[in-house]
């Protein structure tokens, strides 16, 4: 992790005069913390990806292929937990949010730098606990990332420790949220009024609120699972009057809003990239900013759509189905605004833009399949099948994942002062995009044909499509590897990257590359909007 310090130089990499690992893991500089998050998040992403590929390998043919049923169950559980809690939730907010947000506001750091560092430490500790739980106790947890009781209260595997790890990760997420809200309220540079805040930062604002208000519920819920296992409180145990459905309510009260913690920052990235590469102000700035808040608010009230088949009351089904459809509206607004931003623009198809465009497409497919899930009757058929698996990979990986890569190609050169090569990035992108669709679209078809999820083994009639999907996963492997390798090499040894080659008008493009520790020598005064390219003097 510390090799980069040797190669990247200038700006915050060296101007504090401090080097060595201590200067990183005890640093309160938001940029260093952001990068540390980035490294961790990427490492866990690779762990998750490896598990994903193993899952696909097992599913390549019916019958046992490479692992036992118990191992398979642990595989997808850990894949889910790692991807959700270690990769995608901290993914964009904690890494790129930390890197970019203060600078976009014209601030020198976040509001509570030490809390920020603490939150990184909590993240690492939580992650380590989760990983330790895989190898100790009764073996890796096998409950699925949803930890449904009563199964999770009965299984002999090491659920308690894993859940405790997730609990700590939740705190890390909460602290990041608190930090961002306070920063946005208190640390804006003079002239940076609410309608001049870049949309990425806007989206983080909405995200942060969800983090603050929803995460505590998962904390208490997971705590309950632990007490259930250790003390036997019996709160969810039907034989003693408990109600397992209540666990599902509480779990999804957090976990549905959490999917907006995942996607909103991704949408923010896209809203920042599209105008820059179209050389055109974003279409409908206010509506996009507002729809982020609308998604956050409405999204907090739709959790029941994960429970249509659970035995919830029919009235509940109706209410939640209705609200679910309401969430689609702000998403639709965003999609339409992005597309019209490109209208008659001057579009340059560089790597960040390609990722951004594929985001729109993949997110739309995922989102629309979400509507099928939101309609009560169709969900009955495809609930807990690979259709759902396809849906959430489309929105999470196709959405947030691609946004993550877009952000990496867009912002990282700014912080490293060097850039990747364009051609391999595009080849990698093409492979990822093709592999992605082969993999997940097939899954959706499988699901409609009725293949249930979390199945270690399946009937022969599903064999062909599963083979196709597995092959798709290999194409994607190739793509991701190329992209990451190219980024890695380019950022360390590539061509120098200076000035403002993409012509961004947000504040981060107005300071030296790499940014100095203090970001701004003196407080900037903001005189133009975030996408006012003329005002920023961009040609």
């Amino acid at each position: 992790m510390s090799q980069e310090t040797a190669t990247a130089e200038g700006g915050f990499w060296s101007d504090s005069g401090k080097t060595g690992i201590g200067s990183w893991i005890f640093s309160t500089d938001h940029k260093r913390i952001g990068l540390m998050y980035l490294y961790c998040v990427l490492s866990f992403f690779m762990v998750g990806v490896l598990l994903g590929v193993l899952i696909r390998l097992e599913l390549i043919a019916p019958g046992p292929t490479i692992v036992t049923a118990q191992t398979y169950n642990a595989l997808f559980t850990v894949h889910g937990v790692v991807m959700i809690f270690l990769f995608i939730i901290p993914g964009i907010p904690a890494s790129f949010g930390n890197l970019v947000l203060p600078i976009q506001l014209g601030a020198r750091d976040v509001a509570f730098p030490r809390v920020n560092l603490f939150s990184w430490w909590l993240y690492v500790i939580g992650a380590v606990i989760v990983l330790v739980s895989l190898f100790t106790g009764g073996g890796a947890p096998d409950t699925g990332w949803t930890f449904y009781v009563p199964f999770s209260a009965r299984t002999t595997t090491n659920v308690s420790l894993a859940v405790f790890g997730v609990f700590i990760l939740g705190f890390s997420s909460i602290l990041t949220g608190i930090n961002f809200v306070t920063t946005i309220h208190r640390m804006r540079a003079p002239g940076m009024n609410w309608t001049r805040i870049p949309l990425f930062t806007w989206s983080l604002y909405a995200t942060a609120w969800v983090q603050i208000l929803a995460t505590p519920i998962i904390a208490i819920t997971l705590l309950l699972v632990v007490t259930e296992r250790i003390l036997g409180l019996g709160l969810f145990d039907p034989s003693r009057g408990g109600d397992p459905i209540m666990f599902q309510h509480m779990f999804w009260i957090y976990s549905h809003p959490a999917v907006y913690i995942m996607i909103l920052p991704g949408m923010g990235v896209i809203s920042d990239i599209i105008p820059v590469f179209s050389r055109k102000p974003i279409f409908g700035y206010k509506m996009i900013a507002f729809s982020s808040l609308a998604i956050a608010a409405a999204g907090s009230a739709v959790w029941g759509h994960h429970m249509y088949t659970s035995g919830m009351s029919d009235l509940g089904v109706m209410v939640f189905s209705f609200l679910t459809f309401l969430v689609a509206i702000p998403s639709a607004i965003k999609v339409f605004n992005w597309v019209s931003t490109m209208y008659k623009g001057s579009i340059s198809l560089e790597a960040p833009m390609l990722f951004a465009l594929s985001f729109i497409l993949l997110f739309s497919i995922g989102g629309l399949s979400g509507l099928i899930l939101g309609a009560a009757s169709t969900d009955i058929h495809v609930h807990d099948t690979h259709f759902v698996v396809g849906h959430f990979h489309y929105v999470m990986f196709g959405g947030t994942g691609f946004a993550f890569f877009a952000a990496a190609h867009y912002w990282l050169p700014k912080y490293f002062g060097r850039r990747y090569e364009e051609k391999p990035a595009i080849i990698g992108w093409v492979l990822m995009f093709i592999g992605f669709n082969v993999l997940y679209f097939t899954m959706q078809v499988l699901g409609m044909e009725g293949m249930p999820r979390r199945y270690y083994d399946y009937l022969p009639e599903f064999a062909r499509l599963n083979l196709v999907a597995t092959v798709g996963s290999w194409i994607m492997v190739a793509g991701i590897l190329i992209v990451l390798w190219n980024l890695w090499r380019g950022l360390l040894k590539g061509e120098p990257f200076t000035g403002n080659p993409w012509g961004g008008a947000t504040l981060e493009w107005s300071i030296p590359t790499p940014p100095p520790t203090e970001n701004f020598e003196e407080d900037p005064v903001v005189t133009h909007g975030p996408y006012d390219f003329k005002g920023a003097g961009v040609p």
Binding site: A107, R108, D109, A111, F112, V115, I174, G177, I178, N179, V181, T182, H185, R186, M187, R188, P190, I212, L213, A214, T215, P216, I217, A219, I220, T221, L224, T227, L231, G232, L233, G234, L235, S239, R240, G241, G242, D243, M246, H249, M250, I253, D523
Partner: protein, 199 residues
């Protein structure tokens, strides 16, 4: 709005945001409580009758008083009265200890009657009863943990006041800690009627 000077307002904003997370944490328990209350009104009634109103009411008074001391300590430090501040903080911590002691008495009485999580008596009893006492232990336990954390924080700020790190000019840490303390009180304001009174 320079970034170098201390941002009192920002610090308080952050604290409030944190308090919201606490409210929602307890909110989760209250969701469960309300649901199970509607499902098992009778069992909850019987369970609630077994709780000791005297312990509960005493603790309410103790906690309210501690809250008063905490609030007064903020006034004191702003007026620059260091001794008074320290005394009031001591009073708060004292009340917290009394609270915990009473809680201890109450819990051990329950244990004596064979009512504790997973106890044979609860397993054999009617379904709702186990849920009621499960919730009771969960809520008061969680609240107790907060009382302990709060007292530790109070003690820590007292040390800071003693060393004059916190003083009339810069006391936002003390304010924030008392905010936390009031939250603990707030939660109890709801726990008390819900568990001891209405059933």
């Amino acid at each position: 709005m320079s970034h170098l000077e201390k941002d009192t307002f920002g610090a308080k904003l952050g604290m409030w945001l944190f308090l919201f997370t606490e409210i929602l944490l307890f909110g989760g328990v209250f969701i469960l409580y309300s649901v199970y209350l509607t499902r098992y009104p009778r069992e909850f009634g019987l369970g609630g009758k077994q709780l000791d109103l005297v312990y509960g009411a005493t603790n309410t008074v103790v906690l309210l008083t501690s809250s008063l001391f905490a609030a007064m300590s903020v006034t004191a430090i702003k007026r620059g009265a260091k001794k008074v501040t320290l005394g009031l903080l001591g009073g708060t911590i004292g009340c917290a200890l009394i609270f915990l002691f009473i809680k201890y008495l109450e819990w051990s009485a329950k244990f004596h009657h064979g009512i504790y999580p997973n106890s044979p008596k609860l397993i054999a009893g009617p379904p709702g009863e186990s849920v009621f006492f499960g919730l009771y232990y969960l809520t008061t336990g969680l609240h107790g943990i907060h009382v302990i954390i709060g007292s530790v924080l109070m003690a820590w700020t007292a040390v800071m006041v003693q060393r004059e790190v916190l003083h009339a000019g810069d006391n936002v840490t003390l304010e924030n800690v008392t905010l936390y303390w009031h939250l603990v009180d707030l939660v109890w304001i709801f726990i008390f009627p819900l568990y001891y009174l209405i059933l």
